[in-house]
């Protein structure tokens, strides 16, 4: 990724934003990441809703998938999972 910042002429008029924050990865903020035990998962979707990052998506089979590059490791998903199938583990 280039660190050169765009010149004034390269920036759009109106000071509108040029990039999605999806390009800004917040996954290195935390030290803990969720680990899921899908055997226990009831597909209730609560972890998806309770994640402040939108970093837990529901896959085609209806199970949660954690996008680690955005997860800040807050641990709400593990705290709230009704069947305790998410555990926070230290990654660094």
């Amino acid at each position: 990724m280039s660190t050169r910042k765009p010149s004034s002429k390269e920036l759009p008029i109106g000071a509108v934003v040029t990039k999605s924050s999806m390009e800004y990865e917040t996954g290195d903020w935390g030290v803990m990441k969720p680990q899921t035990d899908l055997e226990k998962c009831t597909q209730c979707t609560l972890c998806h809703y309770f994640c402040p990052e939108g970093a837990i998506t529901m896959n085609d089979d209806g199970y949660p998938e954690v996008i680690n590059k955005y997860c800040k490791g807050c641990g709400i998903c593990a705290e709230e999972c009704p069947v305790k199938c998410i555990e926070m583990v230290r990654t660094k």
Partner: protein
Amino acid sequence: MSELNLKQASRKPEGLAAGHRLCAGCGHSIVVRMILKATRGPTIATSATGCLEVATSIMPYSSWNIPWIHNAFENAAATASGIESAWQAQRKRGKGPLAKYETLDVIAFAGDGGTYDIGLQALSGALERGHDFTYVLLDNEAYMNTGIQRSGGTPFAAATTTSPAGSVIPGKKEWKKPIDDIVIAHGIPYVATLNPAWPMDVMRKSRTAFEVEGPAFLHAFIGCPRGWRYPMEKTISLSRLATQTCLFPLYECTLEEGRPVYKLSGPSAAIARRPASKKPVEEYLVSQGRFRHLFRPEKRDDLIDSIQAWVDQKWEILLEKAGV
């Protein structure tokens, strides 16, 4: 009402993208994600200055997958009223870029500072004029973005950096401003309280707010691990406790033949049916650093009791209004 359920909505594209810079465990994005899952289609949003605005729009990055504008701090309602007026004018004339949209969900997001305090005038004006928009109060009970200063939405006895718990004064001296009553007094068609611990309730009420013609007001409970000083994984459980103690009851208020009609929502209706299930407010207070001085160095039963009495009275008044 068109269909909304947890499974379907979980597959809906996010209105607020990942990569934002809200604190880990912040309640803002949880609630905003749920609300945006309930939009009907074309949507334009504006945010007042505050945590949500700052953390989601740091140039050159944006987390907003919907058209979004930040104008200033005190004018979210006025900005939204301009967006709505543009749509109404162009729709009426059948020309202009917004003319083609049969519905447009116009949303104003603002914090407690931007609503209880500096933005109250613009909010009142927009409600009085009857614009068709949804105002969302994201209430984390202090000016968190600038470093936890007290607002009109900060609860009694909470320590903030401008209402510190000192040796003489134990935190904020004033009670939380009754913002919902103030809004309801405007006679708008829909007011509801939201708690992220109940996602389906949040989405259903948001959808109702969008569908109602005229102004709708959603008051969302937003936990703040940093400002309230609690562990970040507790945001949802603490929010749940706020409703279970009746400190933040969940209800809707609609307007029928000019009269406000209150209806308790699931968890609060359950407490109304079984009053014994109402939890003591102390349980809520003790888990947060902002109320630490009520418990240490010595327990301040006098203050805890007065908070409990205040909560009890507000709850009783609400029960009366709801005809329970």
